[in-house]
Symmetry: C2
Subunit: 199 residues, 2 copies
Amino acid sequence: MAEYIESLQLLAEKFGRLEGVGKKTAMRMAFSILELEEEEVRSFASAILDAKEKIHLCPICQNLTDREVCSICADEERDRATVCVVSDPRAVLAMEKVREFSGVYHVLHGLISPMNGITPEQLKIKELLQRVSEDGVEEVIVATNPTVEGEATAMYLSKLLRPFGVRVTRLAYGVPVGADLEYADEITLFRALEGRRDV
Amino acid sequence: MAEYIESLQLLAEKFGRLEGVGKKTAMRMAFSILELEEEEVRSFASAILDAKEKIHLCPICQNLTDREVCSICADEERDRATVCVVSDPRAVLAMEKVREFSGVYHVLHGLISPMNGITPEQLKIKELLQRVSEDGVEEVIVATNPTVEGEATAMYLSKLLRPFGVRVTRLAYGVPVGADLEYADEITLFRALEGRRDV
């Protein structure tokens, strides 16, 4: 019986530690691994190690990258005067799909959430302030999720950024309230970008 | 932008090859890996290799095991005269949860499905026939799913097993316990009616 197979149980536990993977899904995935060819399994394991080893944060925008500076920050054609602040790298992916934003990003790696014990100090806010103070930033678009935490973080940032004399904007409520940027469709995201307003 | 991060993209592809994992889920999982501690990631990778290396098929029942013979086949208290035939190891798990079945299993590793090019030769049917011919089996419960493929496989097996003089049974069809008659489909209701019993 598979519950007695220690290595399978262990593998299912590992899968279960990934975000959004429940117990049944984790077990299904563990079984899936056994169905793969041995070569495939080896390359799976090394892909995991590889990704973890090679990928780190871009020293400028804090997004994930496998280069010294991420491809967006390294791109000469991006407008460095406009910084779009997002909560996580997935939001950058979502924004990039719009193909309408030519500025750069800043990834906070979380949202302020006292309920979950996440304080501003744990986010990449210090790095954002430093960028704004040094880099000739003119506008900061706070594109955090339209949720309680996202709003709170946006309010907090706008207060912090005011002394720097930059324009602080927020995505328009074209994004459905309560949703996740990752799942917003491109047109909604585009409208939200277009209709951004001063905080 | 994460789409340009080759190792992340590769990892997401690997996750996408697991059963029931779509593109977005695969990408979320790849991101999840990056959020784990390095130590955790290493043990994840080795759990994958470990499971694949250690787990093989039990030579008797064809279920997955990390021992020479699986724990059920090795259990002296299980009734070897009753063999429950299932399509895959997950069905064994489901059956074992009932705690009412004291016989042994036989895992086919698939169902006959000409549409998907799965022929009887690809399943562990040869091994089942050998068991039945040698091991003093008295009853074979064909517990394949009540689907077209499951039915076809059950019919095929019952024909093959008849010459051996064993009793071949099939799990009862009926309304699931706790369900509402209103939502039962007609075929299920028909079968439930057909299989009605005295109270």
